[in-house]
């Protein structure tokens, strides 16, 4: 089929020539646009939107590829080279699939729910520091440097926590509007899980903020709630927060897994339990919106985690990369950030395909009885460190102490946790009672 390819190439080249000539004609205006923070933020937000949509589509391919490699097979490798055009095929299929709206559903909420989940996941990208401060070469020397961020607000951390929590609405609305008791059951479980795991998430984020406030130099302390303040604190001392609080970073990773309804916490949406959970009645594009929203939420929480604990866009010992104001270093920082997000997404996926699923009561017990006490202890220790002015290097010891203490507590207890342990206890009790009866039968 030569003609479609030739005509496609012709269209792309003509379009490219048109765009290039437009850029050359309006070069001065474009330079002014890019130098202005507002318009740069607008352009950056469009670029991030486009980038995130592509990334989310390719997350699906990455998930299939990683799960295949773990299972000793190749993933999709037919559609493009190495299967790289598979998301395109998936998108076309989902667009052309029949979009079924069942009869007895609450129509407005049914249509609203997937979009709520998707849009809310996308707003979170506004406050993440992608590249730090920089200047274009055509800007004046005394002009204010640009921030490579869509919005640099004072309370970025609160914003992300608030916006991330709204993901629960999409799930609950999806289950309620489906008019299906199994979907509703799944939605209620998902909502309870997401709300429970907000607490360790908030505690660990609070610990990070207190540490950042402690580590920043005195004149920048009011920056502690900004995400670029967190990054600055980590690059200022050259030590990432994960070194100070390893267990807190782990708790944040696990709480983010649970927030995204991701395995091993995906009881609310897994197929073996509830057919489809809250998305049973959804077909085609609406279902795709739920899953794209889930992946977008994963990427947002990875970016959030990286900014708080793993150094943001900085690398250790690379002062040129971390602090330079040149535009190409800004692009390099964006690349570093993107690579870190890629590593985290791969980690999410490996965790999904390695661990068995938690039962719902095990999940809730983990949140309320394990993570909340651990988060509280770490936070209390950090507050004491800040109050008495002790060295920050006390906190890794506290973290490990909390982990070891938790392990000891779980060893001491003999509460049955798995289903097998419970049924064994019941069986032992039954045999003891039977033996007692047999012994005393003759009496």
């Amino acid at each position: 089929m030569k003609h479609p390819i030739l005509s496609g190439l012709l269209a792309v080249s003509i379009g490219g020539i048109v765009v290039l000539s437009l850029i050359v004609m309006f070069m001065e205006q474009i330079k002014w646009l890019l130098a202005d923070q507002f318009w740069f933020s607008v352009i950056l937000s469009l670029a991030i939107f486009g980038g995130v949509m592509t990334a989310v589509a390719y997350c699906i391919l990455l998930e299939r590829k990683i799960s295949a490699w773990i299972q000793d097979r190749y993933g999709p490798n037919r559609v493009g080279p190495l299967g790289l055009l598979q998301p395109l095929a998936d998108g076309v299929k989902l667009l052309l699939k029949e979009d079924i709206t069942p009869g007895h559903v609450d129509r407005a909420l049914f249509v609203l729910a997937p979009f709520m989940m998707f849009v809310v996941a996308l707003i979170g990208y506004a406050v993440i520091p992608w590249g730090g401060t920089f200047k274009w070469p055509w800007m004046n020397a005394d002009a204010a440097p640009l921030v490579a961020q869509v919005a640099s607000i004072d309370i970025a951390v609160l914003y992300i926590l608030a916006v991330g929590s709204m993901g629960v609405y999409g799930v609950v609305l999806g289950g309620w509007a489906s008019n299906n008791k199994y979907a509703f059951y799944g939605a209620m479980r998902a909502a309870a899980q997401m709300i429970s795991y907000e607490i360790p998430l908030g505690l660990v984020v609070l610990t990070a903020i207190v540490t950042v406030g402690y580590l920043l130099p005195a004149d920048q302390v009011m920056d502690c709630l900004r995400l670029e303040g967190a990054v600055a604190a980590q690059s200022h001392n050259g030590v990432w927060l994960v070194v100070y609080h390893p267990v807190a970073a782990l708790l944040l990773f696990i709480a983010a897994l649970a927030e995204a309804n991701r395995a091993p916490f995906d009881l609310a949406e897994c197929e073996q339990e509830l057919i489809g959970g809250f998305h049973t009645e959804y077909s085609a594009m609406k279902w795709a919106m739920f899953f794209l929203g889930e992946y977008a939420h994963m990427i947002t929480s990875s970016a959030f985690m990286i900014s708080l604990f793993w150094g943001g866009y900085t690398l250790p010992y690379c002062t040129e990369l971390n602090t330079s104001g040149e535009w190409y270093w800004m692009l390099a920082r964006m690349g570093v950030f993107g690579a870190k997000i890629g590593v985290f997404i791969a980690a999410y996926m490996v965790v999904r395909w390695s661990l068995p699923r938690f039962r719902f009561d095990q999940l809730m017990r983990l949140a309320w009885k394990s993570f909340v006490p651990m988060g509280l202890l770490i936070l209390a220790a950090q507050i004491l460190i800040v109050h008495f002015g002790w060295s920050q290097w006390l906190s890794p010891l506290v973290n490990l102490g909390v982990l070891v203490g938790g392990a000891l507590v779980s060893l001491m207890s003999s509460t049955p946790i798995t289903g097998r342990q419970q049924s064994l206890l019941v069986r032992e009790k039954a045999t003891r009672e039977k033996e007692y009866e047999l012994q005393h039968a003759g009496v």
Partner: protein, 182 residues
């Protein structure tokens, strides 16, 4: 042992051992699990060796025993070997064989199938018909790559089944010596 207590003494309960204190920590097992999956993920040579990229590469079938599409064997003189005894039709669990028997035009055989239809879409490819046949007339071949554009096309009649024989008799020769001499 006396018959009165065989219920309690003859049965041995074999249970999984309960978790030790160290196993109750769960964290070492979790990281061991990660080690296993990451090992599989990064072992490219195992994948290259084991994965067969269909349709460019095909699996080596064991032709003597692979249960693909059916064929009706011919005898030495090129006549259909079936004697219309209806054993395969009776044995079939999916009831996909339909035979109409008739007096045969040849002197050395009493009956032959005037009509022998197998609905290949109803068939479950179990091989019961091949096991039931007393004269080894019906066999399952290694052909599995069937394409039909309609359901009617996939009902193989006697000519089609004999054609399958003509195409596969070199790949899979008739397996046993002739039992009845024809």
């Amino acid at each position: 042992m006396p018959a009165s207590d065989w219920k309690t003494k003859d049965v041995i309960n074999v249970d999984q051992p309960t978790l030790t204190k160290a196993e109750r920590l769960y964290l070492p097992q979790i990281f061991g699990g990660f080690r296993t999956t990451l090992r599989h993920m990064f072992s490219v040579h195992v994948r290259k060796k084991k994965v067969i990229q269909y349709p460019e590469q095909r699996r080596q079938l064991r032709k003597e025993i692979y249960r693909g599409v059916h064929r009706l064997n011919r005898d030495d003189q090129g006549r259909v070997a079936c004697v219309a005894c209806f054993m395969c039709e009776t044995a079939c669990p999916a009831h996909c064989i339909h035979i109409v028997g008739q007096e045969s035009p040849w002197p050395d055989r009493e009956k032959y199938p005037a009509q022998f239809d197998i609905d290949e879409l109803r068939c479950i490819y179990c091989g019961m018909c091949e096991e039931a046949c007393p004269v080894d007339a019906i066999e399952l071949t290694p052909e599995f790559h069937l394409v039909g554009r309609s359901r009617e096309e996939m009902i193989f009649d006697k000519e089609k089944l004999l054609m399958v024989f003509d195409r596969t008799k070199d790949e899979k020769p008739r397996k046993n010596p002739r039992i009845t001499g024809y």
